[in-house]
Symmetry: C2
Subunit: 519 residues, 2 copies
């Protein structure tokens, strides 16, 4: 074997094809789950970016092969998102590491990889092509049939035609074959869709499964969260490479202008102070910085007191929508939600939102049920490695909050950020960055406190009811007996007396007050 044969270059598509495990395409069970998830998330992103209440239609139908093991299935999804410009469609679906998600902006997708991996997996298991139809709203709809040349990481267009678009439809339709073990994946697929309905209560999701059963997740509101904004890099998150790229791109001629234009929350005063501390003249041309000066600036940025990142660019769900989502899907007896103030890790802003719920359709399962979300994505796998799991299961003493493992309690944690610190490309769990961990723990403590008030009332109410039952049973008898003794004709009315021993109102009435108190 010659040396030339030993070393080789592979394309990005080839890398992810060879290592599809790390993108969540491990086997036919996991692959169909990841496929559905990536496609649904792209559709939600495409609608939310322009505040369109999402309408998603997903169909998985059995094509051939066994149904009690890996077989061939057809995936079909339609959305009402903004659509993809037609000249970009082939690359957007047929080229790995090409996309619109390489910005500092909160999106569900972060790697620009998921949708293509779904199509690529379909291709390598069925040798099929993908059909994509899309329009951004003008008079034509474009339809492409394509495959991915994995070794070159390029789309291969098999067919391209246009259709008239009389009603100015915008959105995308994707259709392809893939190998799947749907039967084994089903529970996770349905759980994923239900949790998505919780965290996107403004979306209509219609799902037709391989047996033709229709699952419909109706929107509970048309109110949409404010769409996420693109943001400038914060000085705390900048490294030498980013700095070099900014210097290359900039049209600013002075360091003062450069600092003000390219960094998040840096104005004249802060820029001047910083440049003074780092010993650079404000008029210096950024393109003339020597390599060691760049390093000095970047290092100084990490310790200078800049303003904390602004979370205005983020799109949290908001307490109202989170509560609506939980109520809609789980109808709990008690629910309380809480949004923490924005925080930041390494220059990336993030917001933690949590909810707690009791009863309703929550089943007691020997512990707190944890629902994890990141940028409005439900996370279903590798729970035990997640920062929220750590907080809920190892750092909280639930007895302190009167909660016990046999109670039907669920905790919801939603972390949104311009950069969620995932530990895998499969987006399954979030690293325990200290700042994130602290925020999650504080948030969970707050809602746990509210739950404990509810549980106290519930316990007292139960006592009260027992007490009242005793009084109700004996008071009329005592009254009657006393009346006879006193030779009165009519026994006294015991109702006012009974009412006076009531110590608590009905629990439902006090619940709202309590929520307001806690805010």
């Amino acid at each position: 074997m010659s040396l030339q044969e030993v070393f080789q270059e592979i394309s990005a598509a080839d890398f992810f094809y060879r290592n599809r495990d790390i993108a969540g395409f491990t086997n036919p069970t996991r692959a169909i789950y990841s496929t559905i998830r990536e496609l649904v998330e792209n559709s939600l992103d495409a609608a939310e970016i322009r505040e369109i209440p999402p309408d998603i239609y997903l169909r998985v139908s059995h094509e051939s092969g066994p149904t009690d093991g890996p077989g061939i299935y057809r995936i079909h999804i339609e959305d009402n998102g903004i659509g993809i410009p037609h000249e970009i469609i082939p690359s957007a679906f047929g080229q790995v590491l090409f996309g619109s998600k390489y910005k500092l902006r909160q999106t569900r997708g972060t790697f620009g990889l998921g949708g293509k991996m779904a199509i690529l997996y379909g291709q390598v298991t069925t040798h099929g092509q993908a059909t994509i139809m899309s329009s951004t709203g003008p008079t034509k709809v474009h339809e492409y049939q394509l495959t991915i040349d994995i070794q070159k990481n390029k789309p291969v267009i098999l067919k391209h035609k246009t259709h008239p678009n009389d009603n100015r439809w915008h959105g995308a339709v994707i259709d392809f074959l893939t190998e799947a073990d749907y039967t084994r994946a089903m529970p996770k697929v349905l759980e994923y869709l239900q949790q998505t309905a919780i965290v996107a209560p403004y979306a209509n999701i219609t799902y037709v499964d391989p047996r033709g059963r229709l699952y419909r997740f109706e929107r509970a509101t048309t109110q949409m969260p404010k769409p996420p904004q693109e943001t400038l890099p914060h000085p705390y998150g900048v490294d030498v490479e980013t700095m070099k790229r900014l210097i290359e791109l900039t049209k600013e001629r002075t360091m003062l202008g450069f600092m003000k234009t390219h960094f998040h929350r840096v104005g004249r005063t802060i820029a001047t102070g910083f440049l003074q501390q780092v010993g650079l003249p404000p008029k210096k041309n950024p393109k003339k910085l020597a390599p060691d000066e760049i390093v000095r600036v970047v290092n100084a940025m990490k310790s200078y007191k800049f303003l904390a990142p602004d979370a205005n660019c983020l799109s949290p769900l908001g307490e109202e929508l989170l509560e609506a989502g939980i109520k809609k899907e789980l109808s709990p007896e008690f629910v309380s939600v809480y949004q923490r103030k924005p925080s930041a890790y390494s220059g990336f802003p993030f917001i933690v939102e949590v909810g707690i719920a009791y009863g309703g359709e929550i089943e007691p399962k020997g512990g707190i049920r944890l629902y994890r979300f990141a940028n409005k994505i439900p996370l279903l796998f590798d729970e035990a490695s997640d920062v929220s799991w750590k907080a809920v299961n190892t750092q909280m003493d639930w007895r302190h909050y009167k909660a016990s493992p046999d109670m039907p309690i669920a905790v919801f944690v939603h972390i949104c950020s311009t950069k969620v610190p995932y530990k895998t490309v499969g987006k399954e769990f979030i690293a325990d960055r200290p700042d994130v961990e602290r925020e999650v723990l504080n948030a969970v403590r707050e809602v746990a406190r509210r739950l404990s008030l509810f549980l106290s009332k519930k316990i007292h109410l139960a006592h009260d009811k027992h007490r009242l039952d005793v009084f109700q049973k004996y008071l009329p008898k005592i009254a009657g007996f006393s009346a006879k003794l006193a030779k009165k004709e009519k026994p006294p009315d015991v109702a006012p007396l009974l009412k006076s021993v009531l110590r608590y109102e009905k629990i439902e009435e006090s619940e709202d007050d309590q929520d307001e108190d806690a805010e």
Copy 2:
């Protein structure tokens, strides 16, 4: 913002630069650990491939900045591996997804990514270049200074010179600056090196830390495991994409020849039987297969009864070396090792080797201490998500084996395969593929059984000693008293009597026998 700005293509280097978390370069603590690990592993691979007992010299020295937080450090590593052909050096170190590890062969590295990520991380944090010196043994040593153009994913050569190589040295020297929080990373770095010394007992590793302290892990043997071999793909692991590539490459003109030449353990008989079942004439030209025929062949491959993959291509450590490694680093009171027969998942062969040890330098820590290895790499992070952790901590009932959490017990699990099913690019934990899980559990059960024999003996020996102590105390007195009563001059000799009550020999002596019994 125009649409052209919204969509963009990024290079593979750029992708991993933006998502360095997923490759184990999360922060300055984790990054220095990953840097050391990736470099040491590349060096070990480069020596083992030609059965050279590795000699590795690693130095981390503090350059500037604080030492109680992130500062700038110099990394310097030298090995005696086979070296890198000089024309390939720039790409091998300056281009992501270029390398020699994209073969079906058991190597520590699997992604062709680690070494470059280490250099890339150094570059983005310090703006420095990397210096690489290497020779494959001829009369010249080549020295390169280079940086990575991240946006283009290409090396930028700053300097290239040659030195005479009079003593025909082969190996590589790498030197660069990087940001690191060494103080916080230190425990994991030392643990990593010690565990590497366990699993590569034939390597000399010298490490000089930033304070100038020298750690020397001496080899315990010069016996080397047989180097791993490249192997053909097994029909069970072939998908449509692999099949297409093989058809494109092949020089065979018939399906029979094609099957025999390109697949693992497929001979004439099996190939003929398979082609008959799938309904293709043996003389059919593979290049003339229609797309749906390719799909049919690939699907049929999954269910046909082929021979199981042959593990000859693998390079397990072997029981002898594993035992030597454990003894060398932990000096346990008891050790037993066990290698399972080769097995396979999805067409990839793998072998599980386990060890169990008691006492010595193993500290009791309220549970079994687990050492995890994959292709001779120690795995130190995310233990709870690993298949071995699951087997040892949730599937084994250790009480059944007389083991208790307060005992100084360590379990060692080594999985080697042409494709280790890692769940992250950071190579931290192994997925619980059912076949892998079963092999690990069976292997651990076997050594646990041997441990329980040792523990039984240990308990009996303790009883025995107690019993003997009692006899030793009273027998001479009884003998003396009896002698007096019988008016004998000299009491009888009790030594033979004492010996006869001994039920067990000294435990050290029986240990070896027991090991042989179990094999």
